[in-house]
Symmetry: C2
Subunit: 445 residues, 2 copies
């Protein structure tokens, strides 16, 4: 019976997460449709508004309208708010509002919050929420201050808005930029390839946003005592490091041959960090080799860490699958890492999530390629970018057919809300008998 109650609670909290995201997206779309949101002062079509709002709330960064030139200051502010809400998570924001307004947070809210950020226990949720909010704003503020000199030098007073926007966009792994003009749309950070300050600040914001709220908490609690860190935090550190260093080295030797060694190092490092899952780019990605594009697709699918502003199947999922393979090869029955065992259910979930991201990515890419007659690699890149909520593109987004745009909208939503959250909510009612069926052998491989 206690298990049943547990399930009913899950069902409700997951439904809250899903409906919360959907509600914010629809509200955002409605506001973005208003004439005041565009620079031209005309009504934006529902399709474009929905795409933009979904991209913002799901912190993806794919855009059918250039953010810098199409949307007005008001529209950009709406987008920034959507990014901030989407980055923190709808539930965290709702809890924050309750806490800040002085009301008591309900048990229901506590457990929803726990599921939303994958916290290990319900206790201390209020403290954790405060911690997340304080941390987020502090880091975003630091980022904005550090970007201020560069943008104020280039844009004058408007540079303040620029700094705030890009700091938040980077920390939330959103990848939206407002550097576009009507002559030069969708530039991302290509104008700042060689600017060390912009590169370093943005990279740090991306990484800090992408390692997850619980990992911060572990860092703040345990500081130098690495042994006392959660196993999950250690796994996140290891995978994050590997997935930055290896691709950076690869890109350094295979791409950007026309740049000087220093700028090439910077460009390689930035393009290694951004696919998981920030979505800024400082170089034109279309010029990269096919293999580099494929490596980026893999990085986009892996994504960031759980309970963070980043998307993708998550570093921990990938790590668990690798650890499982290592355990099989060493013919160990139990999968373990850093002196801790990993549950079989976790491994099965990881396999499911990996499978789901692969299926969504491949189906999406195939549909987009067939429908628009564009090269398969570009379509797969676009699909991986959407389902991983990355926002990088080889330049095809604004030219896609309407149906393909809706494919991207669905991929972004599923990618952000997390497949499991969605599916548990929809299907877990059916959870029926645990009656043990007879076991039968089946050969694999």
């Amino acid at each position: 019976m206690s298990e049943n109650m547990h399930r009913r609670r899950h069902l409700t909290t997951f439904q809250v997460i899903i409906l919360g995201f959907a509600g914010v997206i629809l509200l955002g779309s409605a506001i973005l449709m208003l004439p005041v949101s565009s620079t031209k002062g005309s009504v934006t079509s529902f399709h474009d508004a929905l795409f933009t709002a979904t991209s913002a709330v799901c912190v993806t960064g794919l855009a059918v309208r250039d953010t810098g030139s199409y949307w007005s200051a008001f529209g950009q502010t709406v987008i920034l708010i959507l990014i901030q809400v989407g980055g923190l998570g709808v539930v965290t924001v709702a809890s924050a509002v309750t806490i800040l307004s002085g009301k008591k947070i309900s048990l229901m809210q506590r457990s929803t919050m726990q599921d939303a950020i994958s916290a290990p226990q319900v206790g201390g949720i209020v403290r954790l929420t405060r911690f997340i909010l304080k941390g987020t704003f502090l880091i975003e503020l630091c980022g904005a201050f550090l970007l201020l000199p560069v943008f104020c030098h280039d844009y004058g007073a408007k540079g303040i808005w620029m700094s705030v926007f890009h700091s938040i966009s980077a920390f939330c792994n959103a990848g939206f930029d407002i550097l576009g003009t009507s002559e030069n749309t969708f530039p991302s950070l290509t104008g700042y390839t060689g600017n060390i300050m912009v590169n370093v600040v943005i990279m740090f914001l991306i990484i800090i946003g992408g390692i997850g709220f619980l990992t911060w908490e572990d860092i703040c609690t345990n500081r130098g005592k690495l042994k006392r860190y959660r196993m999950q935090s250690k796994v996140i550190f290891a995978t994050t490091l590997i997935f930055i260093v290896l691709p950076a080295i690869f890109f350094f030797f295979s791409d950007f041959q026309e740049l000087s060694a220093g700028r090439r190092f910077l460009a390689s490092l930035f393009q290694a960090i951004t696919p998981r899952t920030a979505g800024f780019n400082t170089e034109n990605l279309s010029n990269m080799t096919e293999v580099s594009k494929a490596v980026m697709i893999l990085l986009m699918l892996v994504g960031g860490s759980p309970g963070s502003t980043a998307g993708g199947m998550k570093t921990t999922t990938f790590a668990v699958l690798i650890l499982n393979a290592a355990a099989t090869f060493r013919s160990r029955e139990e999968v373990s890492v850093f002196g801790r065992r990993i549950n079989n259910t976790v491994i099965k979930n990881a396999a499911t999530i990996g499978m789901m991201y692969l299926v969504l990515f491949l189906c999406g890419g195939f549909i987009i390629s067939v429908q628009n007659g564009i090269p398969l690699l570009d379509s797969l890149f676009e699909a991986a970018s959407a389902v991983g909520t990355v926002g990088l593109t080889l330049g095809v987004t604004p030219e896609l057919h309407l149906a393909s745009r809706y494919v991207l909208i669905i991929l972004m939503y599923l990618g952000r809300v997390g497949g499991l959250t969605l599916i548990y909510a929809v299907l877990s009612k059916k959870n029926a008998g645990n009656a043990k069926l007879p076991l039968e052998k089946i050969t694999v491989g």
Copy 2:
């Protein structure tokens, strides 16, 4: 202690399988190097002989030398013997020799045999070996007789050799053909696109060879009583059917637009069956759309059924991963199908095998693309073809750099011997303490 003994036995049998395959490959290479093996009567380089022997023993069908025009009748016979040995499995052949020579089969041989064909128990292995041998030769004989009229009409007396060769090559899912001439190399079956007899016979041989020896036994034992079939056989029937019908429909609508409806149907069906993992083609695959090529890559990776002449990660592996995903989505703790539960260890192994094939396929494809400067999709196609022991190619095999050919040799070997077999053999010595470490939560997805 009994577990230790079990492990030692496993270690030995797996080593026997690996070394057996390697030994046959090296012996075959040596014979193929002899002047008598080539039509020109000159010594063949070790690289080319090794590639051809590996491709034959691993029943892949990739070729750096056109089988029909480069190799003499003697060389072709050697290749055919290698195919037959590789298709049945080195261990099955060794057991067969023992049994046929009237000697008593040792316990060691029995258990090796059991591992080699993934039989459920050691008992009845002799009976099973006889059954496999009889079945194989009977079906290959039927196939050859049915092909006789066509090939004798086109080639006269040489048609008998043609029929035997292609019947064995199809049943063993080898994909080698001897239809090439010095003017028209590597034709595969493109000369018989519209020939219903050749198409149907070859398709049946491929399917029967690819569903696995144990599945035949199930069919012969239980015939119409579907309920009494092994769960594994049912899974194999279901996946085989799905992976033939769906791709055939897709190819029918996306490719071969220039053919008449009837021939288009035949071409679509043939090209849907051949990637798993026969390797013949009746149409020029380079003319297919990019998405169709990608679908073929997926089919090649999935491959045939366990304990068969086919390669790939196996239909059952894929089915177990899909079933696991379905169970997660329905929040069931146990994975089940056809009224039977599937063990957690099986699911973890399936995840490992899936991961391993993906990693080998991606690494191989990336290396080939970078080294030879050919399009990524073509390289990935080539790598999937090698690791799935399929033998389809977009025409790049003979032009590859030497290093890339060795990459293909390694992929073919690992793909055929089966990753787990290899790795258990090499690493299982290390299998150490089962001391239970503390369990710790980790969030995935």
